[in-house]
Homo-oligomer: 457 residues x 2
């Protein structure tokens, strides 16, 4: 235990995980199944397969297999940018003068700039293996679209990205990264799909929404021979792939005999948080260890802390299956002023069930406080964090300061999901002191929750 811990712990190539860990296998209360919105019945692999790749549909519904082998082709791709470092935040500790030991798992050292690549490469691999020609998806700010473009380029798959029009126009750099990787990027709503043409006719000049882009991407997938639709968060399969984050984190801590006391992650759709905590929650579920786990969400989009645990539509367009999750209602739209990602109205079914069962806590934080933490972190740790990741930084700093008061030398581990290089418009607002906080009223939330679907009997 007195072993010197380096600034960065890199696992050796041969220490990298060869299986993903499926936390559902250890859950007593399984996450609620996806329902067919027409029949109200759980969806089967056969029903999911026209939209998702078959292997991914199987992973989506597999509540039983604890370890799922990572195919060699995916492991080889992982070797190009993984293992990601587990960093001991010596400089942040010094700055805070805290007795706590702070560690962060940094997922931003790849060109997509975030953890999204972990699932993108898996989804592209299964699409290729199934002999598909390509995949379609939607992207908002562009992280997921970038990750998927990289993955498809590697496996020589066609990649069609529907990018919310306002982002397409205001974030040309992300768009160009995707194009450099050979993706076709279409501003949504477009004139290329029926739903796009309909929306354009109904709302001339609209700058689009994620819900609309999802609808277009799904339509494009089912209307082209050899295409499927892929999604970068929320789904069980995505959390499965993201378990690589937690597995590496745990292996690195174990290597140095460090036992985490607290694990903190930001939560949007829940894929990063779910992946990070999976192996630790697995220990809790099996009664082997205990951890304090904190999901951090923006006060402007507080699905866990203020949402309802209920079946809801996954998308604004209501074309996708119903999922049981903590939700603010599929019509909920966070303030445009909110700078980071983490704008999704719902939360992964796995994370939602674990939260409902008391395995994790949730905390919401306001935007200005998040950027204060981001700035401090950037200055002392030398990494400019993504606004999303900075939600976790905020709470990690708060907890480290609490340790300073109590004198406890807790081991705090948090997930640093990505870099903020493409978020400088938000940083500029913060630098100019033009950033403001927004918290929805109870009325706002009640209004959007009023539209929860009625499940057919």
């Amino acid at each position: 235990m007195d072993q010197h811990i380096p600034y960065k712990i890199y696992l050796e190539e041969q220490e990298m995980p060869v299986n993903w860990y499926n936390v559902r296998a250890d859950m007593k209360n399984k996450p609620a199944p996806l329902l067919n919105p027409g029949t109200g019945k759980p969806l089967s692999v056969a029903e999911l397969s026209p939209i998702f790749c078959e292997e991914l549909a199987k992973q989506e519904l597999d509540d039983d297999t604890p370890e799922i082998p990572i195919p060699e082709e995916i492991r080889n791709f992982y070797k190009m940018y993984r293992p990601s470092p587990l960093v001991r935040a010596y400089c942040l500790e010094k700055k805070l003068q805290t007795p706590a030991h702070i560690y962060y798992k940094f997922e931003g050292n790849n060109t997509s700039g975030s953890h999204k690549l972990n699932s993108a490469i898996a989804q592209a691999y299964y699409a290729k293996k199934q002999g598909l020609r390509g995949v379609t998806t939607e992207t908002g700010a562009g992280q997921w679209g970038t990750a998927l473009s990289m993955a498809c380029s590697y496996f020589d798959l066609d990649c069609q990205v529907y990018m919310v029009k306002v982002s397409y126009e205001q974030k040309p750099f992300r768009r160009e990264v995707m194009r450099t990787y050979g993706a076709k990027v279409t501003p949504s709503p477009s004139m290329e799909t029926e739903i796009g043409r309909k929306i354009n006719a109904e709302f001339p000049g609209t700058t689009g929404s994620l819900g609309c882009a999802i609808s277009e991407a799904v339509e494009a997938a089912v209307s082209q021979e050899g295409y499927r639709y892929v999604l970068g968060s929320v789904l069980n399969q995505v959390l499965l792939h993201q378990s690589i984050i937690g597995l590496e984190t745990k292996a690195a801590l174990d290597k140095y005999g460090v036992k985490a006391d607290m694990i903190i992650g930001c939560a949007g759709g829940g894929s990063n948080l779910g992946g990070l905590i999976s192996p630790f929650v697995g220990q809790m579920l099996r009664g082997e260890a205990d951890y304090q786990i904190i999901a951090v969400e923006p006060a402007s989009c507080p699905s866990l802390t203020r949402g309802k645990y209920a079946y809801d539509f996954c998308d604004t367009g209501k074309v996708c299956p119903l999922a049981k999750m903590y939700t603010l209602g599929s019509g909920f739209i966070p303030s445009a002023n909110h700078a980071g990602g983490l704008r999704y109205h719902g939360m992964s079914s796995i994370v939602s069930q674990l939260y409902d069962d008391g395995y994790l806590q949730a905390r919401s934080v306001e935007q200005t406080a998040v950027f204060e933490a981001a700035e401090m972190f950037a200055r002392v740790e030398g990494i400019l964090p993504a606004p999303e990741s900075s939600h976790a930084i905020r709470v990690a700093i708060d907890e480290a300061l609490r340790c300073k008061e109590t004198g406890e030398a807790k081991n705090i581990v948090f997930g640093l999901t990505g870099t903020g290089y493409f978020d400088m418009v938000a940083y500029e607002k913060y630098n100019n002191r033009e950033m403001s906080d927004y918290i929805p009223t109870d009325e706002d939330i009640a209004k959007s929750l009023a539209s929860l679907p009625v499940i057919p009997e």
Copy 2:
């Protein structure tokens, strides 16, 4: 030799270099000294000290000490983002179907996005140690300014960056990264310096130049109590700090028993190239080993391949000392169409002397071919390279393809200096097939060489 080589070789923390290597100590023909433009005499530490920190002035003139200890504070900062990985480019090799083994030293995994941070942190450290209040510098595209901002923030030093006005306006993201690190960024020419006001009066509406920004930064340094001027390339001290790149590269290769046959680096001012090759050239100078070393420069700014080896001004404003170097003339301005960095008219005195003595070759490459290489590299290796770095990629690919013809399994090592996340405007041009090549005519070069200074007797 049959040992499996991982995709990424990371040295352990305890394997990191504790000394910089000063290649000048092993050079029989020392690089020519900096001259006082007024007297034509070599500059002393005392003469350099009003502009540079004293310790850096000493390093600048030290031609004798082979190993200079890296202070512990700098080594601790290095540990936050170093060792950088030496990557075995398995995927690129496969794509090219070459028998060559390709390795690249990747310096882009830090927020400044390039190798510049290696010297920035050293220069900030010595400024702090000398009790200075702050430093001034100029920046064009912003890599150096970003690196220096990060370094100054770490040591709590004031940082004043004069940013060429056209970049300040067109590259707001880099500017905001610097501001996030607490730097004061001023568009140049400004109204804050005498030279800035003069230039603004003389050329109303000018968008500035690097030469003008240098002049403003130097004036700001000498006119404020407790400030010095710092520079990110060309100087001997910078090459010294950048030797960390080559030392780590060599240690990583040695660890796996790999002998490089060929070492390739892009060359602008020469700091990255000089740092990468230093320990290898040291072996050549001591007669211990032989390598083929290739400096790659853009055809649009060909100082080594088409310049003259002569004393010249280091800056367009002619306020800096004279340096003997391969130069195109201090008035040379590459085409505005040229997308990458590597726009400096001259070349490090050390690199120039080594080139003149035959220790390295030089090759120039055209812009479109560079971006073709960048795109291929991004797609197979998963890293979006900086345009500067992509010059080295181009030649590495060319040499690997040559190996394919001859069947030689050469070990090709190149420097990947940084990422291209802030260069998407150039990528967009390439994606849209709007990029063109530019090669200066012999007349262009002769014209700017006509203004070489006359050295006082």
